[in-house]
Every structure is written in C-alpha cells, then in structure tokens.
Symmetry: none
Subunit: 217 residues, 4 copies
Amino acid sequence: MKKREVEASVKDERLVIKRRDQMIKGAVTLFKQKGFHRTTTREIARAAGFSIGTLYEYIRKKEDILYLVVDRMYDQIRERLQKDLDTNQGTVEALKLSIAYYFREMADMQDEVLVMYQEAKSLGKDALPYVLNKEIQMVGMFENVIGNCVKNGELDLTEQEVKLIAHNIFVQGQMWAFRRWALQKAYSLEEYIELQLDLLFHGMKEGKVKLGTGGEG
Amino acid sequence: MKKREVEASVKDERLVIKRRDQMIKGAVTLFKQKGFHRTTTREIARAAGFSIGTLYEYIRKKEDILYLVVDRMYDQIRERLQKDLDTNQGTVEALKLSIAYYFREMADMQDEVLVMYQEAKSLGKDALPYVLNKEIQMVGMFENVIGNCVKNGELDLTEQEVKLIAHNIFVQGQMWAFRRWALQKAYSLEEYIELQLDLLFHGMKEGKVKLGTGGEG
Amino acid sequence: MKKREVEASVKDERLVIKRRDQMIKGAVTLFKQKGFHRTTTREIARAAGFSIGTLYEYIRKKEDILYLVVDRMYDQIRERLQKDLDTNQGTVEALKLSIAYYFREMADMQDEVLVMYQEAKSLGKDALPYVLNKEIQMVGMFENVIGNCVKNGELDLTEQEVKLIAHNIFVQGQMWAFRRWALQKAYSLEEYIELQLDLLFHGMKEGKVKLGTGGEG
Amino acid sequence: MKKREVEASVKDERLVIKRRDQMIKGAVTLFKQKGFHRTTTREIARAAGFSIGTLYEYIRKKEDILYLVVDRMYDQIRERLQKDLDTNQGTVEALKLSIAYYFREMADMQDEVLVMYQEAKSLGKDALPYVLNKEIQMVGMFENVIGNCVKNGELDLTEQEVKLIAHNIFVQGQMWAFRRWALQKAYSLEEYIELQLDLLFHGMKEGKVKLGTGGEG
DNA sequence: CATGAATGAGTGTTCATTCAT
DNA sequence: TATGAATGAACACTCATTCAT
C-alpha cells in the first residue's frame, strides 16, 4: 500500500517537512487535551507558530492533520520496534525483551497512542484503510518474531494462536495508555510489564487442589 | 456513586423510557456510522422518529444522548453478566463459561461497544467519572469470580495478577468489537473465544526443544 | 378608542377574569426580573399556577399577556388618580396634593411602571396606539386640573405650557422608578416629591447678585 | 471605571473601527424599528454590509452590539457637551445655552436615544453598571455648571436641588425622543426648548388673583 | 510564501403555539 | 375546561476553508 500523500501548495520540500513537524507537535498536544473535533484549525495553526493561512499551504483539509499525526506516530513506533526486532530474533528470551521494549515505547508515547486510539475513526474513508494497514504491519512484526520461535521449536503454537497473541500483545501495549485511569493507579510500568509477560507465557496458574482431576483431561 | 440522572421536561415516566429507547436505538446506529461529533441532533431525532423539539423534551444537551447510550449499555451488560455470575461461581469451569458468555454478550452488542469505546472521552467532566466507575464495577465482577477460584485453591494467583487478568478479560471482550476489521476476518466468534480462553489459562505453550534449558545462560 | 379585547377560548367570563388575574400577577413578577422577551410563556403559566395549555385558553399570543399587564396597570393608576382628582380640583394647593399623590402611587407601582416603561415598545402595531392613548388620557387629566387653576386665575399659563407641564409631571412620576438606581440613593421619596414640587412651581431660584440686572429684563 | 472593551478577532485596529461603525449604523436603524430582541444578528450583519461570519469577527456576543451602540452614543453626546460646557461656564445665560445645546444634540440623536432608552436594561450585569456610570458622569456635568452658577451667586440652590435639576434636564433631553409621539405633534423642537427652559427657570407662573395670600393657613 | 479578513453552511438549542386526550 | 406532549421555525454562534494582498 502506497503512502497516502497529503498535498501541499508549497513546493520547497524541506519547508514542508519543517512546517508539518511544527503542525504535528502542536496538534498532538491539542488533540490530547480536547480531542480532534474540539480542536480548531486556528488553534493548531497558533500552536504550530504560524497563521491559519499558512497552515492551509501545507494541508488540504483538517482531517489531513489528523492523518499526519497518526501516520507519524505509527512510523515512529514501527521504526523503533523494527530496529529492536532486527537485533533480537528467534528466541523466547529475545521475544520477551522485545515485548517489554514495545510496552515501554508505548508508555513513552502515551499521549499519541491515546490520540490515535480515540480519533482514528475520524479519519475519512480514504485514510482509514491506510492506517489500519500500518497496524496490520505492526501486528505482523510480532507475528513474525513469535513465528520464528515456533519454527525454532521454542514455542508450540498454531498459526491462529500466533496471530491472536500478536494482537493481544499489540492491544496490551495500548492498554497501558487507554486504561491509564485504572492501571497506572494499581501498577508501576515495570510491574505491569512483568505481570503481562508472565500471563502471556504461562496463563493463569492452577492451584494444587484440583491437580490431576477432571477438567479437560 | 449515584446514578447521574438526565433530566426530562416530560413528566410521564413511561413515555420518557419509551422515547429514550427510540432515541438510544437511533443514536447507536448513527454514532456507529459517523461518530458522536459528526452526528447531528436533528439526525438523531429523525432516526428516533420524532422532531428535534421533541428530542429536547427528553434530554438537556446533546451529550446526554451519548451518556444515555453508554449508560444503558453498561447496565445491560452488567445485568446479564451479574445474572450469569450469580449462578456460576467458584470453579474454573464456571469461570470459563462466564468469560465465554461475556465475550458473546459483547459480540452481541458490538455496535454499542464500539460507540462506547470510541466516544466515551467525549463525555463531559461530570459524566465521565460515573462511566469509568461502571467499568471498575464490571472489572470488579471478574476480579471476584477469579478471586473465588483462588480462595478455592483452584487457581494460584496474587491479587495483582487477579486484577490484571480481570482487565485483560474485559479488554478482550471489547477487542472483538474494536478490532473487528482484523479479528473477524481471521476467526469466527467461537474460535476467538476458544483461543482466548486457552491463552488466558495456559499462556504460550513452550515447545519441546528447549525444555529444561535455561535462558541465554 | 374602544378597549382592545384579548380573545379567550373559555366562555365563562368570571373564570376569564380570575385566570387573567393570576396570569398578570405572575407575569409582572417575571417581567420585572427578566423582561418580557426573556420570560417564557411556560414560566408565566407556572407562575400563574396552571399549565401552558390552560394559558393559551385565555390568550391568543404571548404579546397579549404584555398587553394585559400594561393595560391593567394603566387602568389602576388612572382609576386611583381620577378618584383623587375628582375630590381635589381647581386650586393650586389641591394640584400640589394631587401631584404628590400621583408620585406616591407611581412609587408604589414601581415594578409595574418599570415593566410598562421598558417593554411597551414590544407591543405590536395594534396594541401600541391603544396604550399610548391611555397615556394621553392620563396626561390629559393633569392638563385639566392645571387648566382649571388657570381658569381660576390661580395660575397664569398658556395652553402649550399647561400641556408640557402635564407631560413633565407625568414623566417625573415615572422617573422615580426608572431612575431609581440614582434617585433613590440620593433622596427619600418625600424629599423627592417636595423638591420636584418646588421646582415645578418656582423653577430655579435666582441669587441676589444679578437681581435687577440684564437678562430678560 | 475602565472602558469595557469588546474583543475583536481581527487585529487591524483601523478595520475594527470601520467595521464597527458600519455595524452600529445598521444596528441602530434595526433596533429602532424592531428593538434589540427582535433584531437578529444576521439582519445586523446584512444591514452593516457583511456576512454573519464577519460580524462575529468584530464582536463576541450579540449583546456586544448593543453595548457598542449605547457606548458610542454616550461618548458622542458627552464629548460634544463637554466641548460646549468648557467654553460656556459660570453664568446663567451660558447655562441656558448649554441646556438648549444639549436638547438639540439629543434631538439630533433621537434614534440612538430611543434605543439606549428602551434597550439598556438588556445589557448584561457586566455592561450595565458601566453604562449607568456614563449617565452619572453626564448628569454630573450639569451638576457642575449649575453648581458654578450657585457659587457665582447667580443661582440660589441647595446641593440636593442642583442634583435633581441636573437629572430633570437630562431626562427632558431624552423626553423629546421617547415621547416624540406626543411632544413632536404639539411642539417644534425650538418651542419645546424655549418652554422647557422657561419652566426650568421660573416654574409655573402664579396668576394675580392669589398673589400675597397663603395656602390653607 | 505568509497573512488574516471574509465567508456562510451548519450546529445545538429554545420556545411560542397547537391539539389530542 | 385543563393538560402537557409534540412540533418546527427561528436564533445565536462556530469554524473549516478561501483568496486578495
């Protein structure tokens, strides 16, 4: 899927990138505070440090800004994650480290995650599939590393299981942000990571009482 | 936390309930399609089958509609879940059934879940804590059943683990709705339920290769 | 000019009068507080002690209520004034007493005066002339008494002067109400009356310096 | 009391003044015809020659327009009056000229006076005191000139009398506008001025009959 | 390239008035 | 007669977007 280009009137590419950086920076802050819909283009322009007229030299519609924000965020996360995964592959130990790394990255970008999370559906019919595609890619990255562990024989999972685990990991990374109101009261980030990893790998631990009895035997 | 009452101008309680039912029904459909912000009060009125004037006889502000939708949904899910949990308690087997039941309920209310999920943050400062409280209650219900299994000795988990598992279950119930674009292509609902249950209880299964060996030691 | 009748659907005349009394009473209070435009028909109905439906059994349009209020007020003032003037006629002394009486009456009906004063222009093109006519009648009453004093030889004034004095008196009666924010801080009602009477009858008193010099001599 | 500034979104001060001039001009005409409440913001925008959007670039709320109108009017009258009073001070002759001048000014601004008079109470709790303060200042200007005549010995009046006379003059200036329906049928402006001045300075003239006799003594 | 004034469709909300019960 | 639910025209105000300078 090709990159969905947001058209700019300005030709100077350097400038386009610079201005969009300013824009995205300002927009994230505002979206975080008031959401996409309650944020006006004027506010974004002001936060970015230029006029409303200038803003529209670099985008076509308000929605473009949201797209730019979300797009940038995905790229950042994916880039970092890719770099990490490239160096750690194939072993369960490496997988654990990568998941932990991913959780920490997501915690680091909490605000952006929240924005993406809550406003993505505001993207129009054209931008949405592109964004979903990025998610699929990211989930795919986890599928790959887990899949490698399976190939190695370190894990024994079906393809279906691999896919779902990848989704679960992906969502649990977001959870820390979007359920912060509950989770961050109960756990530190490292506690959260440790617990989730444990659950991910071992599930709920059975007690001794029923050991050997009934169940799925 | 007391119920946050949405005031109506109309006195006839029966009528209020009836009209609000119509309202909620119409609103959910619209919110799902276009989100809360892009849906106009006029559209909601039309979808509900009455005029804009009548709509405002039953609410005070547009936000009230969102609150009504979310509130109703929570109540429904909680009520059904409570009823289920009341009859199935204490065993892992019952817990599994309850989780499956919960997943199915959430799948059944996909649209509402989606709306709640993406629009909840649009609720004002007064309604939001009330809604979050409802979530806490629902998560608490799962904490209880799992906790009972721990007391029985059927499960061996710390309080922290219990809490996080409850959150995970809760979120996985929502996942089916808000990640439908990916999950519902890959799994049937029953497959999804079975897989998630398996992962919840057993985690990733290790292969035989590395059995007995340490990490990178 | 015939009385402008406000049509009622209800036939029972006694009831019409009773309900309209309730209505006027409630309306005056509300108009005083928030003005005619900011007062809703529902509020008036509630203040009157019956439903909005019932309200409309006794009037045709909201404006009718304003008319009813203003009309009632004029009638009251005129009635009282007439009674007073009937018994005190022809002498300057009696005129002074009547003016003082009128001032006191207006002070007594301050709220109503204020309402009439500020909202009269909200009366439609049909009701307004009728109301203005009532004012003309009241001014005419003063013209008469003053005119009688002229006929008696107690006062020496042209018709034009008589008319203007009548207007001045009329307005000075209202002044106490509509300039209350300034006058009632500086004067007691009786002081106000005494001073105005003095000025009315003697004008500004010249000092001794210029006596006999230049000017209009 | 500081000037209550009405905020504009537009930065160009010259433009703000120009557009507000258009606005005020259009608004006065409309307010005169239909009153403040019955005039819509769109009508004002149209009358001013620009769009509703543009209107709101120069004000924040509809009420601001009323405030602008009233404020402008007070400033104009006071400015002119001040200029006049600065050059004519201390003598009864000058006082008469000033009063006549004031009456003519008010007649010149009839429409604005009418608007101010009938709609001032529609100003919110923040703007009203500011407007009343302007009235107090204007009344104060008359108090001063009259007071000077007293100091000169040209007039023999108490402070209380001076204050009340100032109020009377002020109101009589407005009267020509708000009782136009009666006064302007009976008098020319110059007749009105001459008569009022005469009454102000000499009051009602007693006839010869009773000369020398007391009241009811 | 940058600016910011101008635009007007669109939105939430109100409220006088009607009419079936 | 009395009620109050229903209606929808009307209103104040917002904001994305354009375009002349």
